[in-house]
């Protein structure tokens, strides 16, 4: 987990603004505080602190976070995943190996923001980069469109998908080698595929 060296910290709050689990509390002019219970050891603060004031320490025992998909209605899980354009078994976080069905289960159990999902499943705590879109798409599939908290920039918003690319754009760029129609068919085929708990 992350630990602050207060002799180097300048109270800038950058660590607070990017923490994917909101494990760091901070108010302007104060030192940040790291909650050991919610810190997942992702190292975002360690890698971006401008004053190298964060170090990473190994926990005596590994921390395991996981949502048990069998505890929720799998039909609902499937519905959320497929509405978001994912196969339930599909990996959405390559660092933690978390699958779409586990994120959907977290949403069914009450998660309403990427941070809550990260605390329940561990997603966004590896590279901190690649899995934000699936999370936002899965939330949108149940009508939740979260807004980032003012001052934080852990994430901004949802971006376009292949499903929304207009026909004229597809035609304009096809000759360059962008096979949008074929890729869309492939992703749709995947989404329709059989799934189990």
């Amino acid at each position: 987990m992350a630990k602050t060296d207060y002799s180097k910290c300048v109270k800038c709050g950058l660590c607070w603004s990017i923490c994917p689990t909101e494990a760091i509390s901070w108010t302007p002019g104060e030192y940040p505080k790291i909650d050991p219970n919610t810190c997942m050891g992702c190292g975002a603060c360690y890698e971006r602190c401008p004053n190298y004031a964060i170090t990473m320490e190994r926990l005596p025992e590994p921390k395991i976070v996981r949502v048990d998909v069998s505890k929720v209605d799998f039909k609902k899980v499937e519905e959320i995943c497929r509405n978001a354009g994912f196969h339930p078994e599909q990996i959405i976080c390559f660092c933690t190996g978390t699958r779409a069905k586990e994120v959907a289960a977290a949403i069914i159990l009450g998660a309403k923001t990427p941070e809550e999902i990260s605390r329940m499943t561990g997603v966004r705590t590896g590279c901190k980069v690649e899995c934000i879109q699936p999370i936002l798409r899965l939330l949108r599939a149940v009508g939740i469109e979260p807004k980032p908290k003012p001052g934080r920039h852990a994430w901004y918003g949802i971006c376009p998908t292949v499903f929304e690319i207009p026909k004229k754009v597809r035609e304009k760029y096809r000759a360059r080698g962008f096979y949008f129609d074929e890729d869309e068919m492939l992703l749709k085929k995947l989404t329709r595929g059989e799934a189990k708990v």
């Binding site: 078994e89 660092c95 760029y173």
Partner: protein, 489 residues
């Protein structure tokens, strides 16, 4: 019929010493890398220029900073810098990737030269260097220190990360997010390299544009690239951002270090990125295409990774290991929807590692064992330890993955050997082959076992012919380039 014959005595030589390990927070302390794969018994190297004589002679290797400076100056001679005149600030945008090629010195020299030429031709002195990263958020800071770029840029050289504050960019398909620090100048210069690198991601479609969707982009954009657009459409994220009014109002020109399997061939610079991209396509399909198709002929091998990059980015003959993982199919052929390794593919395996759809191709069956003598963390790599037998040399190297939040389960599927010799002994037993290929960042030659060298040398002429006559016309046509324009060999 093959067009030429190979003289084995000129092609096969002693192994080439790779660059030494480099200190980094993403890798093992260099003191733990006690022996390199090129020092193993029965190792040789094959010279790429002898296998494919049409690849031009490189400027580097051997190291030659002046040649890079001269080539950059010459390439910039014909670039119109009038858009920069009067600008209050210019950001030269770079990428960590350039520093992984030949240890980074050629790229650093090109960046320095760009600054000097801009100053001389425009009078603008407020020039900043902003260098993007992959998933190792301090990597570029390490290069900036190593090459003293902060001093050269008068204290204005910065590593920028996808975690840093962003700026929305409106494109013809919707909103993406760029890095505010990349675009906080009146004008930007796109300073990249032509290395093919992640063919599995960009499929060599608009390759020259990729950093606009990656190194200069926020995490939302990069996530969209790898989850939202599809395996052949992903790089459109970059094209859409580049075409936006926001970027077009700032972008002045592009400068590319011209990489090849034999080393640095020169520098390209242009005010027209489309034109530059077409030049890169033709170069890369021909030169990298041949080396990649040659490596695809390997029927069985032990792979040794031994370079100062994460697992997928270790190089052999200019080809990254991630591409070798998928060379059982033609990665340049856009009729193949999914490469054996890409994040779209990795996502489509179930919990028992069975493909979710039949379109998922198997990984390269020629790879029997992977030995990791030296490779960094900082890239999610469990795919490789799940798909192949993996032996990691030393517990210190294993600890690199154990402490890496991107590789929390990597070592669950790998074993540890005390030293390289023991690892190889085990690899020979379980791999049941004496063919070894090394990914150690050497350019111009490929370090490998003598048995593999003799096997591959025989294949080069037929590969050359296959690429020139059969594959190049198809690859070019798929990318909208009339083959008759360029196939004048």
């Amino acid at each position: 019929m093959p067009q030429y014959k190979i003289d084995k005595s000129r092609v096969i030589g002693p192994p080439i010493a790779p660059l030494p390990p480099a200190p980094s927070i993403y890798g093992v302390d260099p003191k733990y890398v006690k022996k390199r794969a090129s020092e193993l018994p029965n190792m040789v190297s094959i010279k790429i220029s002898e296998l494919f004589p049409d690849i031009p002679k490189p400027l580097w290797p051997p190291p030659n900073p002046k040649a890079i400076r001269d080539a950059t100056e010459e390439a910039l001679e014909n670039v119109d810098m009038s858009p920069i005149k009067g600008a209050r600030s210019v950001n030269i945008l770079g990428s960590h990737h350039g520093f992984t090629i030949l240890g980074g010195e050629p790229y650093a020299e090109m960046l320095k030269t760009i600054k000097d030429v801009i100053e001389r031709k425009t009078g603008v002195t407020n020039i900043r260097l902003k260098v993007g990263v992959g998933l190792r958020h301090r990597e570029s800071e390490e290069y900036i220190k190593r090459f003293k770029l902060d001093e050269y840029f008068n204290g204005k050289a910065y590593g920028i990360s996808p975690l840093d504050p962003g700026v929305p960019i409106e494109t013809e398909i919707g909103t993406f997010y760029g890095l505010r620090a990349a675009y906080d100048a009146d004008k930007i210069v796109h300073a990249h390299n032509t290395d093919v690198r992640e063919v599995h991601f960009h499929r060599h479609v608009d390759r020259a544009f990729k950093p606009f969707g990656m190194s200069y982009a926020r995490l939302e954009t990069r996530s969209a690239y790898h989850h939202n657009l599809g395996p052949r459409g992903a790089n459109f994220v970059a094209r859409a951002i580049f075409n936006s009014k926001f970027v077009q109002d700032k972008w002045a020109f592009s400068v590319f270090l011209r990489a090849s399997p034999v080393g640095i061939l020169g520098v390209y610079a242009d005010n027209d990125l489309d034109r530059l991209d077409r030049r890169i396509i033709v170069d890369n399909l021909r030169y990298y295409g041949k080396v990649m198709r040659l490596l695809s002929k390997i029927d069985e091998c032990i792979v040794v990774l031994d370079y100062r990059t994460p697992i997928p980015y270790t190089f052999s003959g200019g080809v990254i290991f991630a591409n070798f993982t998928g060379l059982n199919i033609d990665l340049f052929d856009l009729d193949n929807p999914l490469p054996p390794y890409t994040w779209y593919t990795e996502a489509y395996y179930d919990e028992k590692d069975r493909p979710l759809i039949p379109e998922v191709p198997p990984v390269n069956p020629a790879i029997k064992v992977i030995v990791i003598n030296y490779a960094w963390g900082g890239y999610p790599s469990v795919f490789w330890s799940k798909m192949f037998p993996v032996i990691v040399v030393t517990k210190e190297q294993a600890d690199v993955y154990n402490r890496d939040p991107q590789n929390i389960e990597f070592m669950k599927h790998a074993v540890i050997a005390e030293d390289l010799e023991t690892a190889m002994e085990f690899a020979y037993k379980i791999g049941k082959t004496d063919k070894v290929i090394v990914f150690d960042g050497v350019y111009g030659a490929i370090n490998m076992s003598k048995s593999l060298a003799e096997y591959l040398v025989e294949k080069a002429p037929e590969v050359d012919e296959e690429v020139e006559k059969k594959l190049m016309p198809k690859w070019l046509k798929q990318r909208g380039i009339p083959p008759e324009e360029v196939l004048c060999k």
